[in-house]
């Protein structure tokens, strides 16, 4: 079944709109009925219907709109309208802004066109603006804080358009189906063991930054990363593997384990002796 029917599909709720239900009162981003004045008792539904009247859908579209505006204001407008920027850059920035705010507004009725407009055209115009106003993007002219906020804004923009291009219809849940039960449970203190491993791993990484000597600092960073990875991996293994030895073979350790313990003891004793003799 084709899912590309232009219709009542919003960014935030494609499945419900896809299900083909009459979309007069749904969340699918369609226009609500005339005269449905939201009352105070309606709560979030009233707010959603108000957003639907504006053509914003049900949450995803305002998010995309806000993210596009913020990302454009922080990273595109200073380049396109700054001093020395050519007129073509200003025009491209303006067109990008229009695309960025128009796409979420039409997403409820023209989903594919809105995605092309809000992602492809918007990003192309933004890139064109940056290319035309490249002197404004010199590293010496960039503010680190504003660049960081702009990066976060672009990340939110990417997340706001996170829906799949092809909307797949999900089957309705069977009300008679039994609940799936977990086949096993975590042993007690598993979370505590994992948390301990994670915290000590972080402490090791922090300790590596205390090394002042440049050569040793590089080695300490490499050693700390390796130790942290090994510790996290082993902590996860220990946390999950505990409590599985309630069999007859549990009375005896495996030969490999005994060998590892012997090596550990011998090495620890020999090393301690050598350290004392030094």
């Amino acid at each position: 079944m084709s899912t590309d029917v232009p219709g009542a599909i919003s960014i935030g709720a494609p499945r419900e709109a896809e299900s083909g239900a009459p979309a007069t009162g749904g969340r699918g981003g369609t226009v609500a009925r005339e005269g449905d004045a939201p009352s105070a008792a309606d709560g979030p539904e009233a707010a959603q219907s108000g957003a639907a009247r504006l053509g914003l859908g049900d949450g995803g579209a305002p998010q995309a709109l806000l993210a596009a505006v913020v990302a454009w204001m922080i990273t595109v407008a200073p380049a396109g309208f700054g001093r020395g920027a050519p007129v073509s850059a200003s025009v491209a920035a303006t067109l990008a802004f229009l695309c960025g705010i128009a796409a979420p507004l039409v997403a409820a009725s023209h989903r594919r066109a809105a995605r092309h407009l809000g992602i492809s055209v918007f990003l192309a115009l933004v890139t064109l603006t940056w290319l035309l106003a490249s002197p404004s993007l010199q590293p010496s002219r960039l503010d680190p804080v504003r660049a960081a906020i702009g990066g976060i804004a672009w990340g939110i923009f990417a997340l706001s358009w996170r829906d799949r291009w092809d909307v797949r219809r999900q089957s309705e849940p069977d009300p008679d189906a039994p609940l799936l039960q977990a086949r096993a449970h975590l042993p007690p203190l598993a979370v505590a063991v994992i948390a301990f491993g994670a915290l000590v791993s972080l402490a090791i990484l922090v300790l590596a930054w205390r090394v002042r000597d440049p050569d040793r600092a590089l080695l300490a960073q490499a050693v700390a990363v390796a130790c942290a990875v090994a510790l996290i991996t082993a902590a996860a293994g220990v946390a999950v593997a505990r409590g599985r030895r309630h069999t007859a073979g549990a009375r005896r350790l495996s030969h490999r384990a005994v060998r590892q313990l012997l090596v550990l003891i011998v090495f620890a004793v020999l090393g301690a002796v050598v350290m004392m003799l030094r």
Partner: protein, 84 residues
Amino acid sequence: MACRSPQRPRIPVGSVSNRVTLTRVSRAVDVFAILLLAAAAFSFAFGVHALGDRQDFKAIYLLVIGGLSLKASTEILRPRGGSA
């Protein structure tokens, strides 16, 4: 025909006392594994600290001890092949 080693007497699992004993042994092994993990964690931490203090031998010693402890902590929790 391959010569098989004489089988060790298997512990009857059905009795209640044996189950209790197995549970205690299993719990002791679990605690030992966690202690080894903690020892490895602190060995790593002190090893990196010693590396920053220019104590190379101590750093290497602690890092190796940490690695061996970590390996032992995961090995003792691994079930025996064919006996479980």
